[in-house]
């Protein structure tokens, strides 16, 4: 299956980004083939609706699960509608999170925060 992680740089050694909607890049990782693809997040520069656009990118890439430290309610609505599960990352190290996910040790993300509604966010 494909999983997505918001990341600071196009490098598996870089950190998980604190924001989902405005992360500069997404890592799309295939747990079967172990392939890594980095996508630019076009939503990062939006004046508004960044979470929605970022979530659309995730949906469009056939992702089944998102690993992220936070997620806004609008993005969560999109992901839920597409049956994409959201897991809470445990640290900033990308590989730690991927391993924890595969081992079934990552919890689901409970706290969805209120959207920023066109006022930007971080």
């Amino acid at each position: 299956m494909k999983i997505a992680v918001p990341v600071d740089e196009k490098d598996l050694k870089s950190k998980v980004c604190v924001s989902f909607g405005r992360t500069p890049y997404f890592l799309i990782y295939n747990t079967e083939t172990k392939e890594s693809v980095f996508l630019e997040n076009s939503a990062a520069a939006s004046t508004g609706g960044a979470g929605i656009k970022a979530a659309q990118t995730i949906v469009d890439n056939g992702v089944s699960a998102l690993l992220t430290p936070r997620c806004g309610e609008n993005a969560a609505d999109v992901l839920k509608a597409a049956d994409i599960k959201i897991y809470k990352t445990k640290s900033v190290a990308i590989n730690d999170n991927i391993e924890a996910f595969i081992d079934g040790k990552l919890p689901l993300l409970d706290e969805i925060h209120a959207g920023f509604h066109g006022r930007g966010g971080n």
């Binding site: 004046t47 508004g48 609706g49 929605i52 609505d77 509608a81 597409a82």
Partner: protein, 292 residues
């Protein structure tokens, strides 16, 4: 005659001046465009005759018609739409939508139609012979511009009565909207450092819009007045000076209309009103400027 009262800085006395000028004129129209924090109605306590909800148009989707082509999603500059193709779902985010109507226009399957979302209301009432229009933005809504537009676009039966427009603080888009069709602008200034800094901003704004304007100095104390100094430096006409007056302060803080409370203030504002009317008429006679 549409006279806008603005200031840049909050709390300088826009409502004090606009409410009392309207009251001094007896037969007048008062429009409160500070739809986020409207205060004029607290002074006029109008008997409310009419209430009108203000709504903006946002899209609604018929998912049975949507084929997931995504033209709407790709068009929307505000990212208010998301498409889950394999579930045949289009999600619309109402709070993000700017009501531009683009998606509805573009949908090749006619799956998008418009529905209304209420963002606030306008109340019309009377206070003696003053017609009071109050715009109120609902809590949580981002922009009061559609309410201000409606407040000012209505074909009001003003029958030659002066119209006083109480503007919001600042100089951003809501203020621009409020002064757009004003014939004259009164800038209310207070004698403080902050006041002058913000006065400068609205001064630039009214100049940009080519509006005739003048300044009323409020809360004047003895000694140096930085706002007065600014006006002299920039050659701006000062048409009134309201002293810092504890009694006036108390009347105002109790939301009473000074003009109706004490003839002393009736005189001050009647005299100011006369000056304003003269200024506006003088402008009509002497200038013929180009329309935007």
């Amino acid at each position: 005659m549409r006279i806008a009262v603005l200031s840049g800085k909050g709390g300088t006395g826009k409502t004090l001046v606009s409410v009392n000028l309207a009251a001094a004129a007896h037969k007048a129209v008062y429009i409160d465009c500070d739809v986020e924090e409207p205060n004029g109605h607290l002074f006029f306590k109008p008997a409310v005759i009419q209430e009108e909800e203000i709504a903006i148009k946002i899209p609604a989707v018929d998912n049975t018609r949507c084929n997931g082509c995504r033209q709407c999603v790709d068009f929307c500059k505000f990212n208010a739409l998301a498409s889950i193709k394999n579930q045949n779902k289009l999600i619309i985010f109402e709070e993000v939508c700017h009501s531009c109507g683009g998606c509805i226009m573009l949908c090749p399957e006619k799956a998008l139609t418009e529905k209304e979302k209420v963002i606030g209301k306008i109340q019309k009432g009377m206070s003696d012979a003053v017609t009071v229009y109050t715009g109120i933005l609902n809590i949580g809504e981002a922009s009061g511009i559609p309410i201000i537009k409606q407040l000012l676009d209505d074909h009001k039966d003003t029958s030659g009565m002066p119209v006083f427009i109480d503007c919001p603080p600042g100089s951003a888009c809501i203020v621009m909207e409020s002064i757009k069709d004003a014939d004259y602008c009164i800038l209310v200034a207070e004698p403080t450092l902050f006041g002058v800094h913000n006065l400068n901003m609205v001064y630039e704004l009214v100049k940009l819009f080519g509006k005739q304007f003048s300044v009323v100095l409020n809360k004047c104390l003895d000694g140096e007045n930085p706002a007065e100094k600014f006006c002299i430096e920039k050659n701006i006409k000062i048409i009134g000076r309201i002293p810092f007056d504890t009694e006036l302060g108390i009347i105002n803080s109790n939301a009473e209309i000074a003009v109706r409370k004490n003839p002393k203030y009736g005189d001050i504002f009647s005299s100011l009103l006369e000056t304003v009317v003269r200024e506006v008429q003088h402008k009509h006679e002497t200038t013929s400027h180009s329309q935007r």
